[in-house]
Amino acid sequence: MIRLLLYGLGGLLLGGIIHIAVILLLPDFANRDAWTSLGRFGPDGTFHLLPMSEPGTEPLPYLDPEMAYAACRFSLENGPIRIKAAMPEDFWSIAVFNRRGNNVYSLNDRSAERSDIDLVIATPVQMAQLRESPIAALDQSIVIEVPITRGFALIRSFVADPTLVSRAEAMLRAANCSAGLPSADTPPPADPDEKN
């Protein structure tokens, strides 16, 4: 009898371990998470305009129907990436998430103190390299260091009125998720906004 109790206790302990393992590993195995859902919209490395959130056509759960969205899945394995986008004068924000959907960085138009997005995302190692050989052309960019190699960026743009949807969508469609990163040695090209 005592032995059965001991086995029961062992079962409870093992149950606790299973609980912790399930919670910690679930984000890596979830198949309806934001990363996977965004993969449906097209290839990585470029921004995809998400359809406006309307009944029945919500691209992701609990998106604000008053906002237009564009998302880009990116990888930092081949170097830092640079996001460039011209944005409307009204409220916008951009958030960077890791592969598991945790927010690692966010910014709105007022805290950016400018009306366009010019964001360079680098890993800590790439950041150290950028500091060693600074690139003059990135002086105006916001350079952030994130401890991730894969993730996604989501831009929100407020649409005050349905008549402004097409304008917001046109600007989001033109957002560039892999803008050229000029090298330290060569002078920057005339137009760094190579279309991807």
């Binding site: 032995r3 059965l4 086995y7 029961g8 062992g10 079962g11 409870l12 302990l13 093992l14 149950g15 606790g16 371990i17 299973i18 609980h19 393992a21 399930v22 919670i23 910690l24 679930l26 984000p27 979830a30 309806r32 998470d33 934001a34 996977t36 859902s37 959130s53 309307e54 009944p55 029945g56 919500e58 992701l60 759960p61 609990y62 998106l63 604000d64 129907p65 008053e66 409220f91 924000s93 958030a95 998430f97 598991r100 959907g101 945790n102 927010n103 690692v104 960085y105 966010s106 910014l107 709105n108 007022r110 805290s111 989501l154 929100r156 407020f158 005050a160 009125d161």
Partner: protein, 191 residues
Amino acid sequence: MRLLIHLAIAIAIAIVVGLGSAALVLDRDRLFGAVTRGAWTAWPDSGSADADPYTAAILARSGEVPLGAGEGLAFAAEEDSAGQRLTGNCRYRVTGQTPPARLWTLTAYDGDGHLMENPARRTAFHSREVLRHEDGGFEIAVARTPEPGNWLPVTTTDRIRLILRLYDTPLAGGASIGDIAMPSIEKVDCS
């Protein structure tokens, strides 16, 4: 033989307890870091890099993208100010003041978190289009039948959920959320 039976019992207990408790926790609202003001609850940590593992797991399962701390803060309500569950069977009046924010939106969802198709083609109000009283206060009617003024339609008779999103608000910057005025949700009547 006894050993095998005991082992089987232990493993069965482990699986039931482990998976059962994980499922229970994940089906409930987020456990940690909830900030409740009146009828409204926000999870400010869910939009930061140090979200707890339960929040991360719940977000991964739902596919929801939280508002980043630099973007804003979302408050959800599933009950009215008297503590009773919000349903599409009743009419509600959302009145009062909102915390400081450059912009806010109020959106109605059904119990599963989906927007509701309605003839008025309205799923949300934002702070600049809402009709206001002379003192700057506002009143939004949440109901199935048309209402004068600001009418936020619902089409279900089941549970509903309201989400108030504050954009560019000092509340989201990690500072502690003190005594803030949130709009009240009053039940008018039920059908």
